[in-house]
Symmetry: D2
Subunit: 312 residues, 4 copies
Amino acid sequence: MSLSEDQTIAIPRAPESASSTFRATVPALEQRLHQPIPLLDHGFIRVIDYMGDDGAIVQAARVSYGRGTRKVSEDEGLIRYLMRHRHTTPFEMCEIKFHVKLPIFIARQWIRHRMASVNEYSARYSVMDREFYIPSPANLAAQSTSNRQGRDAVLEGDEAVEVLRLLRADAERAHDHYAWMLNEGIGDSPADPARQGLARELARMNLTLNTYTQWYWKIDLHNLFHFLSLRADPHAQYEIRVYADAMMEIVEAWVPVAARAFRDYRLGAASFSAPMLAVLRRMLAGETVAQPESGLAPREWREMMAVLQPPA
Amino acid sequence: MSLSEDQTIAIPRAPESASSTFRATVPALEQRLHQPIPLLDHGFIRVIDYMGDDGAIVQAARVSYGRGTRKVSEDEGLIRYLMRHRHTTPFEMCEIKFHVKLPIFIARQWIRHRMASVNEYSARYSVMDREFYIPSPANLAAQSTSNRQGRDAVLEGDEAVEVLRLLRADAERAHDHYAWMLNEGIGDSPADPARQGLARELARMNLTLNTYTQWYWKIDLHNLFHFLSLRADPHAQYEIRVYADAMMEIVEAWVPVAARAFRDYRLGAASFSAPMLAVLRRMLAGETVAQPESGLAPREWREMMAVLQPPA
Amino acid sequence: MSLSEDQTIAIPRAPESASSTFRATVPALEQRLHQPIPLLDHGFIRVIDYMGDDGAIVQAARVSYGRGTRKVSEDEGLIRYLMRHRHTTPFEMCEIKFHVKLPIFIARQWIRHRMASVNEYSARYSVMDREFYIPSPANLAAQSTSNRQGRDAVLEGDEAVEVLRLLRADAERAHDHYAWMLNEGIGDSPADPARQGLARELARMNLTLNTYTQWYWKIDLHNLFHFLSLRADPHAQYEIRVYADAMMEIVEAWVPVAARAFRDYRLGAASFSAPMLAVLRRMLAGETVAQPESGLAPREWREMMAVLQPPA
Amino acid sequence: MSLSEDQTIAIPRAPESASSTFRATVPALEQRLHQPIPLLDHGFIRVIDYMGDDGAIVQAARVSYGRGTRKVSEDEGLIRYLMRHRHTTPFEMCEIKFHVKLPIFIARQWIRHRMASVNEYSARYSVMDREFYIPSPANLAAQSTSNRQGRDAVLEGDEAVEVLRLLRADAERAHDHYAWMLNEGIGDSPADPARQGLARELARMNLTLNTYTQWYWKIDLHNLFHFLSLRADPHAQYEIRVYADAMMEIVEAWVPVAARAFRDYRLGAASFSAPMLAVLRRMLAGETVAQPESGLAPREWREMMAVLQPPA
């Protein structure tokens, strides 16, 4: 399951064997097809297949709206209108399929997005490789004191050294014992004919959650944008965000107009609640408003002020 | 919204403008791409785009099963195994997009299949064409007396003539009044500047259910097989079955191995309940079993016997 | 399928026959259970069943967040936090089932919401009643000139009279012919033994789109909020908005805390795009900004200004 | 997260505090409400809430079929008909919510069923308890030699002792180091003020896959039947099958008629492919058929013969 081996396993046709097609084709994405983008220490993502382009979004929207909005020059405006007003169904008309290698604890977050198709490497059938995610020192973060689900400053000194040592040692020991229990002659554990060998579906339970798995993951553009709005967000865990960021770059090559609209109207947008809008109108009328008289809870007030400050 | 006009609206690129792609490509389907197949009196279906082929099913299954089942010669066996044992996720890795023109009362059946993406022509935004489904005389069937949802013998004589006359006259009158109410200068109704014109979202309610609509419909192969198992079935209404049959032919060009497995293990298969299996075992042991002593209700008995008779 | 008959068909147990349960129960919703709320001229909606309450949302969120956030006093704050930050899964833990009677052209809009369960009255099996939606004069609106999908001023004078006459006459005639074609002795059409009678699945195509249908519709609270955010919106068609408004009142009786959060953070909220936020920051800094130098398209500028004006 | 603590956390109302409701209520299920059923060594499942009963399935089907099939005596026949002919939507009208505690490697299988709602205990927010699944000696099985995903004979002697020792030691050590890395004063690891403590979202990666997690899981009856058809099957992994078996018992208390139909037509049923049906007809006509002349592959032949043998 190493990267080089994966390429031989899963790429069914060599890049030189191009075909001729009448389908919508995106040259900028063709160049990236099948090419793994390395992520974390052993992970990667790559595009296996895709359907549609910016034009396919427009084409579907035009069926809904019928005659009269057919000028090609209006395409970008139409896509931006669809995005702004959350007319989401035309974005479902584009589809993309990824091959992803990722740590199991990240796979568990990822799989919560249900509107996608998945085929994951099965440890019931097959043997898991001896590959684990060990954070780089720069990503070894302390628990945030202000945010129960966040991280804070980088761990330093002896503590960092010891954490990295433990993560590696526990993962390796667990996998060594996994290999011994399987008794299939894996790694340094020769098969012992006197032993029966534990069933794979049981032995896998001894692995640690930073073990790498891999899957094929297919999703439409609307649902991918939803995934990205949550996972390319600064509040997302770093280890899933790197995958989201790589997908965002791929999306920009694939459907540049839709990607730009997504950045403007979703990723970079902010929602103001009814009480926040009331405060905003007072401020725009020249009034100085402070939190206690704003009608907003302190937390909401801080969230609103953070949005209204010019970004650094 | 006539067929010829649709072609100019919705086909974004001429067939001669082929592109080069590294994606899985199916020449037999490329030939059919964008080509409408006429159905009923004014309907059609055509393939707009697709993703994947038989190999994509195998590729996804191989990720699940990992090493050791990689021989190319085993591909057909693997696809048949997946189909037989309802391992459905690899079939989700193929996707297809259709452009369909169909009567509204059929669209209402069709839309019940939720696991698909749809963009329908909107009568809130646009004006509906004056096109209706009128059955051919051979498809003008009487109500079945044995099956509350079925049809029976063909209507004959004066009754058939009168039914066809009524269907046509009511649809045309309703559309003529629709055009008059819109007051947009459609068909034989010149726009009258003295009138305001009814809102489109209201005027559409005057149309009859055999008015044609159209949509883009995108679905993965697993869900398409589910659709076909219900709608390519002899119990399905004729007017939706013709679309299902056309899609089945398209699927056979697209993923011939999977299509054959689907025919053998789904379309042509029969399920025997636990009580039916008990009867079957007695019969195979040489016993003569009659319904009263079978433990089956009369209706189940008839269903079982119908399956066990050699097809005519 | 008239309202009074529906009650006898579909309410399986009389209101006096209350049961004892350990499930979460909402007295304010129990009072409304099974009681139809009349809508439009012949439609209605009523609650058939429900699962969960505000507490069920909190309970599910607490499983995610684990120990340490268990104070009852924090429940409302938690629900508002979930709504504000689009942590949607706890809202899926509440479920509601409605019985709805509605015109077919509205049913066609409604059914586009796929994440719900539906059982609709089938015109393949059964005969449709002679009931049609005819707008009240106050709701007979002209086509909007500024918005292709909107309506504008009320139709007046002879035109209004004629439109109402046509809507009623065409619907009634179509149903009369439907009954004649069925030849089942419906309404004023006695069954003629000399005629075969057209199959129900075919005869239905002669009905107009304002014919009433009915269904059971079951949905979780998260998806219901999504439905309401689109259909209780001023841009939604009036004829579906009345159903959404009735459901919103039901939701307020059922989960009052979640409903309030939904009003504040979704229904009454506005989203500002990245370019809009840039403009907003300039305005708050005291700068006077006009559209041409705002970086916003004229349409976006108008949308933003409409939000920032104090509501009338 | 121990069982006793869970009961105090998550049961929102004591069993004596029953409410009065007009909703469909099932006394046999009320008795089981909130009561955990212990499974494996530390797991459990319990019903938190439910909506509907056998009558709700009938009620929804009757809306579809309309008038004329209303006799109460026909209810069981109708439910069995729906099940036999895969008319699945009425079964979606019943809903159930479970609270489940289960090992992570089983949770990973379970979550693949997408048509359900889930709220899982989050190790990003909260600390995982020191509880692991260790198989009982009777369930410590060797890898099957005939089936790549199966298990075979029970492990015996020293090998079994050593496997159990390794599973326990690795899980405990990993959790001890997890607690040390967190530095929150958990278990035997006192908080050291000189250390920063690793972020929870990172520390969790050190845990083994047999660590217990818990979730709320809500699903409709149709999708639950699909889950059970796969996971209550003898080919399912033992550790998920015990949960499926417990749910099957719960379903029998909840909707006894539907559960019986499910056993007869789904769990105990067998599907015969078109080629199998051809063989069957020859056998019933008295012919002796052997595999080589059957047209079936050896594997299909064995599968068919296994079904046709009287069960032991």
